[in-house]
C-alpha cells in the first residue's frame, strides 16, 4: 500500500460524505434516517424508471396494438398480455404509467431549475441592495402569490401553446406556471435570509476589506441563505408534477399520443371507476401519490436535519452536551 493511496482514502470518503443527501444520511439516525432513506429510495426508483422507461415498458405510451397488429381492445382487465389492463382508449396502462414517470420528472426538473434560479437571484439582489427595486419586487411577489396556481397554469398553457396539447407545451405550461407561483416563495425566503445575514459580522468585515459585491453576494450571503431551501424545493417539485396532473385532469394537459401522463389517464378513468373498472384509475393515481411521498419525505427529512432544533444528533458527532430531546424523553 503506497502512501498516496493511504492519503487518498480518507479524502475520498470525506468527499463522498460531503455530497448532499449522502452527508445527511450519515448525519441522521433512527426514524429520521429511515424517513430520509425511504424518500431517497422511492425517488430514485422513479428516476430509474423514467430513464429506462423504454426498456421497462412493454409497449409505447401511444400504442393501440402490439407487434401482431391486433388492437389491444379497450378496458381489458389486468392479465398476462396487459399487466395492469388497458384504458378506455385501448392503451396499455402499465406502459403509460411507466412513461408517465418520465414526463413527471422532466416537469419537476424544468420547474425547479427555473423557479430556483430566478427566485434565488431576485431574492439575493433585492435583499442585498434594498431600495425601491426591493419594494417593487416585494409587492409584485405578494400579488402573484395570490393567484391560484392551477388557474394560472391553464391560462399559461393556452397562451404558450395556442391550446395545442403537445408534449413540450404541456411540460412548459406546467413548469412555467409553477415557476411563476414559486419564484415569490424562493424570493421571500432568500431575501429574508439575506437581510439577516447581511447584518452579520462576516459580511460586514468582507465589505470593510473591500470585497466586490458579486463576491460578497455569492461567497458569503448566498451560501448562508440557501440552508432553508430544501423544503421549498421539494414542495416546488411536488407541486410541479401535481399541477401537470391537474392540468391533465381538467383537460389541458399532454395528449396521450405525445407522452404518458397520469392526470390525463385519471380523468379518462373517471367513468371507469364508477363502472367497476378499477385498474385504469388506481395505477396512475398511486404513481402520483408515491412520487409525491418520496419527494416530500426526502425534503422534510433534509429540512429537519438542517434545523438544529429538530435534528437528533448522532451520538458520535462529538457533542458533549446532552441534547434537550433526550432529556425530555427520559422524563416522560
Amino acid at each position: 500500500m503506497s502512501t498516496a493511496s493511504v492519503l487518498a482514502q480518507p479524502r475520498k470518503r470525506s468527499l463522498l460524505r460531503r455530497l448532499p443527501i449522502v452527508a445527511q444520511l450519515n448525519q441522521s439516525v433512527g426514524v429520521q434516517r429511515f424517513m430520509l432513506l425511504t424518500g431517497v429510495i422511492i425517488t430514485s426508483v422513479y428516476v430509474l424508471v423514467a430513464i429506462f422507461a423504454d426498456v421497462i415498458a412493454p409497449y409505447s405510451y401511444s400504442a393501440l396494438s402490439g407487434a401482431d397488429g391486433r388492437n389491444f381492445g379497450s378496458q381489458q382487465p389486468p392479465g398476462a398480455a396487459h399487466l395492469w389492463g388497458t384504458t378506455v382508449g385501448g392503451l396499455d396502462v402499465f406502459s403509460r404509467t411507466i412513461y408517465g414517470a418520465r414526463t413527471a420528472l422532466i416537469v419537476v426538473v424544468v420547474a425547479v431549475v427555473l423557479s430556483m434560479v430566478i427566485g434565488v437571484l431576485l431574492g439575493l439582489l433585492s435583499g442585498y441592495f434594498g431600495g425601491p427595486l426591493d419594494r417593487v419586487l416585494v409587492v409584485i411577489c405578494d400579488a402573484i402569490y395570490a393567484f391560484p396556481s392551477l388557474l394560472l397554469a391553464i391560462v399559461i398553457s393556452i397562451m404558450i401553446s395556442g391550446g395545442q396539447s403537445t408534449f413540450w407545451s404541456g411540460i412548459l405550461s406546467a413548469a412555467f406556471s409553477i415557476t411563476v407561483v414559486y419564484v415569490p416563495q424562493y424570493f421571500r425566503v432568500v431575501r429574508a435570509e439575506v437581510v439577516r445575514v447581511k447584518a452579520e459580522a462576516f459580511v460586514e468585515s468582507a465589505k470593510v476589506i473591500g470585497a466586490r459585491h458579486s463576491r460578497i453576494l455569492f461567497r458569503h450571503v448566498l451560501r448562508n441563505s440557501i440552508r432553508t431551501l430544501p423544503l421549498i424545493i421539494t414542495l416546488n417539485a411536488t407541486e410541479a408534477f401535481e399541477t401537470l396532473a391537474g392540468l391533465g385532469f381538467l383537460g389541458f394537459g399532454i395528449a396521450p399520443s405525445a407522452a404518458g401522463e397520469w392526470g390525463y389517464d385519471l380523468q379518462k378513468a373517471l367513468a371507469d371507476v364508477t363502472s367497476g373498472i378499477w385498474w385504469t384509475a388506481l395505477f396512475p393515481g398511486l404513481a402520483i401519490v408515491f412520487l409525491a411521498l418520496g419527494i416530500s419525505l426526502m425534503g422534510e427529512s433534509l429540512n429537519d436535519l438542517a434545523d438544529p432544533r429538530l435534528r437528533r444528533r448522532q451520538a458520535d458527532a462529538g457533542e458533549s452536551a446532552v441534547p434537550a430531546e433526550t432529556v425530555v424523553e427520559a422524563q416522560s
Binding site: 429520521q32 424517513m35 400579488a143 381538467l250 385519471l266 393515481g285 401519490v289 409525491a292 416522560s332
Partner: protein, 366 residues
Amino acid sequence: MTTSVDTVPAPDAPASIQPSGTASRQGGGLIRYLIVRFLLIFPTIFILVTLVFFLMRATGDPITAAQGGHVPPAQLKHLIHEAGYDRPLIVQYLQYLGQIARGDFGTTFTDHQKVTTVLLTYGSATLELAFYALIVAFLVGIPLGLLAAYIRDRWGDAVLRILAVLFYATPVFFSGLLLKLIFASWLDVLPVAGRASTSVELEMQLLPHPTGIYLIDAFRTGDPAAVPDVLEHAVLPAVALGLLTAGVFLRLVRTNVIGTFNTQYVDAARSRGVGEFRLVTKHAYKPALIPIITVIGLQIALLLGGAVLTETTFEWKGLGFQLNAYLGSRDFVAVQGIVALLAVIVAVVNFIVDVIAALIDPRVRF
C-alpha cells in the same frame, strides 16, 4: 439560533410572514407600519387585476368560444367587432379600469349574470366549503401534530408524518374519487356529490333572501331534515379538501411544538415539575400557535382560490369551479371579476396576518 416567528413557518408559508419591509427601520412605529402595510393592499390588487386582464386577452375571445363552430368567419368577425374586442388592448384596459373604479364589474358573457351576483352566489359556496375544510384540518391536523411532537423520533411519529405527507400530497381528484367510491358507492352512507338533496335545495331556494350559505339557509327553512342533509353533503368534500390542509397543520404543529420545547419558557415550566404530556398540550403549544395562526390565514386564501379540483370533483358549485368554466369560454368579464375578488381577499388576509405578526412580535416591524 433565531427563534419563533421569522424562521419557523417560512418553508410552509413563505408569503407574508416577513412583512413587506417598506416601512423604514428607524421610523418603525406600529401605527405607521400598519398604515403602510394597509396601503400596500391596493397595488397588490391592481397588479393582479392588470395581470389577469392581459393574460385573458392573450388567450382568445368569448365570441369565438361561443360561436366558432356555428357561424361563417365573416359574420364572426363582425360580431367580434360589434362587441369591441378588436379595439387596441390599451383602450380596452383603460375602459375596464374606469369601470371597476366606478364599482361596475359588468355582466358575464356566457350566462348573463351580474358579476357581483356571481361573486355572491358562488363565493358563499366556496366560503362554506373552506369553513368545513378548515374544521377538518383543525380536528385532524392539530391533535395529530401534538401527538407527533409528543412521541417524536419514534416509529409512531414516522407513521404520523408519512400520513401528513400522504394527506397533502394526494391530489384531491384522486382522493375524492376514492372517497366517493367507498362512502357513496359501496357503503352508500353519504351522497355522491352536490351541496344538498333536491328537495332541500328547493326549500332553500324558496326562502325570501337565501344567504347562499347552505347551513344557515337550512336552519332557516325550519325543516328538521334540512340541516343534517346539508351537513351530510359536506362531509366528503370537506374531508377531501380539509386533509390537504390537515397535512400542512400536522407538520407545522409538530415542528413548532418541538421548537418551543427548547425555549426558556418551557424550560421554566419543566423545572416547576410540569408533566411532559401537560407540557405539550398546555405550554409548548402556546408559542407555537403564532406561526400557526399566520398559516391559517394563508390557507384561507388558498382554500378560496385553490379549490377548483375539489369543487369539480364534488359538484360543489363555488368560485373555483365557476372560474374554470368561465375560463373555458373566455368570459373575460367573469374571470376578471372573480380574480379581482380573490385578489382583495388574499390581500386583506395577508394584511391581517402581518398585523397579527406585528402585534405579537415587535421585531417584525422593521
